[in-house]
Amino acid sequence: MSPAVTPGTLPGPPAEPVDKPAKRTEWPLWEVFVRSKAGLDHKHCGSLHAADPQMAIQLARDVYTRRQEGTSVWVVRSDQITASDPGDKAAYFDPMADKVYRHPTFYELPKSLDHM
């Protein structure tokens, strides 16, 4: 198999062929989400290290559902999660604070329409 990157173009050891996965010595980190019972959402409950997806699911069961806390488990590699930047919290979320007209309580209706 020929490497996709031409080795020797930069000083130092040749680049690893792209089809060989980068060497890892630590098991990657996974985030675990558990649905406790049918009808509810999966909730994030923590993380764990596992070598691959199948092991991650099995370990998630062992670590996070010892007391029947789950009917379904999701695992996602932590590096696949995109998160909003906490530094941008204000810019990102403050605009929602003054849009009171998004809430039903903003609207006053006659008592006969209480149920609406």
Binding site: D19, K20, P21, R24, E26, W27, L48, D52, P86, G87
Partner: protein, 335 residues
């Protein structure tokens, strides 16, 4: 508890608080202090002072190490439990402790440290774990007493931590506390059985276990407040909520009442009810023994650490094989 020796840990150069480097950092520090004072939670990616982060990495990881090392004294009795019921219970408890260690390692890693680094610190002796696990478990009664006193002390320390300012730690503590109360109850129930329905020899065995575990359990709460300079900073940051001495007093008051139900006595001739304080007075702890054990020279320190290092070394081929297996499958699927 998991910071028993933190006041003596070598001072790194940047341990000393220093003036903010810039106006921006001063603003971030001020905002951080506001949030702490307001009882707000700090999440993993929020700005935090370097010392806050360092303190938490030490405390959370030492808490995690304590759970994992704590599996050893009890693991000793899994094959020796007197009945199938007790064996199943002990297995479940030890499994829980593995799980607790894992929750805590995960919480520590959110602060930017790797699992390998944490293990390296433990195995090299740099990181500590709770001193209590350096004592041997000599009889079956030790299993009951550990559940009653050691888990009891842990619960007393852990409940306030559920409100720790660092949210990943607080969440892990909530999870742990939910599971921990069975640990104490099963221990107490085992003791109740031995004291209530056991032979004279079994009752003596229980009293002997209490005699050996009482003072080490009191030491779990760490040095006296007057000798814990870092406690104040930890309280200021919302990491520590109740002082060592206050927790220790709460523990004594609760357990002495519980000991009456069991019919055992505490090995302390100075233990007596103080009507004015509405609390129990108790004797002086042997702080020499405490520092000796924390310093690495207790009855089982070397044994515990070598068991951990051996398990890590013996498991290396499993960790490597799992990664190679995973890589092989990735390649197969990509091809």
């Amino acid at each position: 508890m998991y910071t028993q020796a933190m006041d003596t840990m070598g001072k790194d150069r940047d341990d000393a608080p220093r003036a903010a480097r810039s106006a921006e950092e001063a603003a971030l520090q001020a905002r951080f202090d506001e949030r702490i004072d307001a009882g707000d939670f700090i999440e993993a990616k929020d700005w935090m002072p370097e010392n806050y982060r360092k303190t938490l990495v030490r405390q959370i990881s030492q808490h995690a190490h304590s759970e994992i090392v704590g599996m050893l004294p009890e693991g000793n009795w899994i094959s020796r439990a007197p009945t199938l019921k007790r064996k199943a219970i002990l297995l479940a408890k030890v499994q829980d402790e593995a799980g607790h260690g894992l929750y805590l390692y995960a919480a520590a890693e959110t602060l930017g440290v790797s699992r390998d680094q944490l293990y390296e610190a433990l195995h090299s002796g740099k990181a500590k774990y709770s001193s209590i696990f350096n004592y041997p478990t000599l009889t079956w009664a030790d299993m009951g007493v550990i559940g009653w006193l050691v888990d009891g002390a842990a619960i007393m320390n852990q409940v306030p931590l559920c409100r720790c300012s660092y949210a990943p730690y607080a969440r892990a503590m909530v999870r742990i506390c939910r599971e921990e109360s069975f640990h104490q109850r099963q221990g107490f129930e085992a003791l109740l059985t031995m004291m209530g329905k056991g032979t004279e020899a079994q009752r003596e065995m229980v009293q002997d276990a209490v005699n050996r575990w009482w003072w080490p359990s009191l030491m779990m709460f760490g040095p006296p407040d007057s000798e814990s300079p870092n406690s104040e900073q930890s309280m200021r940051w919302g990491i520590k909520r109740i002082s060592n001495d206050d927790l220790r007093q709460k523990f004594v008051d609760a357990t002495v009442e519980q000991s009456k139900i069991l019919g055992v006595s505490m090995p302390d001739p100075e233990l007596r009810w103080n009507e004015a304080r509405q609390s129990y007075d108790f004797g002086t702890i042997d702080w020499k023994e405490f520092w000796q054990v924390v310093g690495g020279d207790g009855p089982c320190n070397r044994e515990r650490l070598s068991a951990r290092v051996k398990a890590w070394d013996d498991g290396a081929w499993v960790r490597e094989a799992a990664l190679v297996h995973a890589a092989k499958h990735e390649m197969k699927e990509a091809a």
